[in-house]
Symmetry: C2
Subunit: 188 residues, 2 copies
Amino acid sequence: MNDQDRVRRPGGRSARVGAQVHQAVTGLINERGYGNFTVGEVAARAGVADSSIYRRWGSLESLLSDVALTRLNAQSPMPDTGSLADDLRTYAAQVAREITGPDGLLLVRLAVALSSDGGQGLRAADELRADRTRQLQSMLDRARDRGERTPDALDVLDHILAPMYIRVLFGMVPLTPEYVDGLVDRLL
Amino acid sequence: MNDQDRVRRPGGRSARVGAQVHQAVTGLINERGYGNFTVGEVAARAGVADSSIYRRWGSLESLLSDVALTRLNAQSPMPDTGSLADDLRTYAAQVAREITGPDGLLLVRLAVALSSDGGQGLRAADELRADRTRQLQSMLDRARDRGERTPDALDVLDHILAPMYIRVLFGMVPLTPEYVDGLVDRLL
């Protein structure tokens, strides 16, 4: 689902405002980079009042985190194939596709920037990470319940996600399917 | 060796200018972040002419890359202990100390920023990475020559450096000695 679809989707004023605000944030990040715009500028571009944004999200940092999480979840829903190896391969391939795609680095940089500006940004980044970790943990818990040998969520971060992130951040692309599958096989 | 020592070190005008320019760059990055200053501002702070900087470094990007590499080499020289396990543990501990130290994230962010602004920045980042990879490769080659089983340099990047970088970038610190040694042991 792209932003355009989301705008057209029925769901009342609240969903429409949410989509417009998300789209405004993505556009501003693309044009100016994270941190180089204000709530007022997001509001103006989205065609809503500043106060609507503060009421719903509380701060620019929470809004940015919400945008990041929404896009992550839309692009990389956690798979449930019935086997951990297949779940992890599917998940890793999704993440690889997402972070090498047009908005991909944006998301990684947003997460990095949220983590590094302290205060609210740090809390927002913690929430974003906690949310994704919970989803990953559910996938791992399902595998454990099926009796499969299961790594920790932090091992998945360290040995599947981190190498892909760093290679993309350093411009060492593309991430081939062989490379991505290899990271999963090595961990399992 | 800190910048102050380097300034006082004998070695003529060229070494002095180099140290002053490096110090100016570090200060400007700390105050304004990467990308938010010009060669002219570096020159003014260092007390040298713009043309001296262009003659020696060619571009702001090459200068930034040189600063990053000089600091990396000063802070994390490649160890040569006679055993790959000890070399890698020492190296990983140095990197962990450096990236969790006061200038640490600066260097990682500089490398990331150099990689992501395209053109000259990308080439400078490639050189920086190539330089460090050559040093790492020498360490691995020495181990191979001694008959030790030796991972690829890219495996070291993926499974020792990348997890530490990502944890620091995401604010998941400190990196305990147990964690860092564990990354090395797991790879070997």
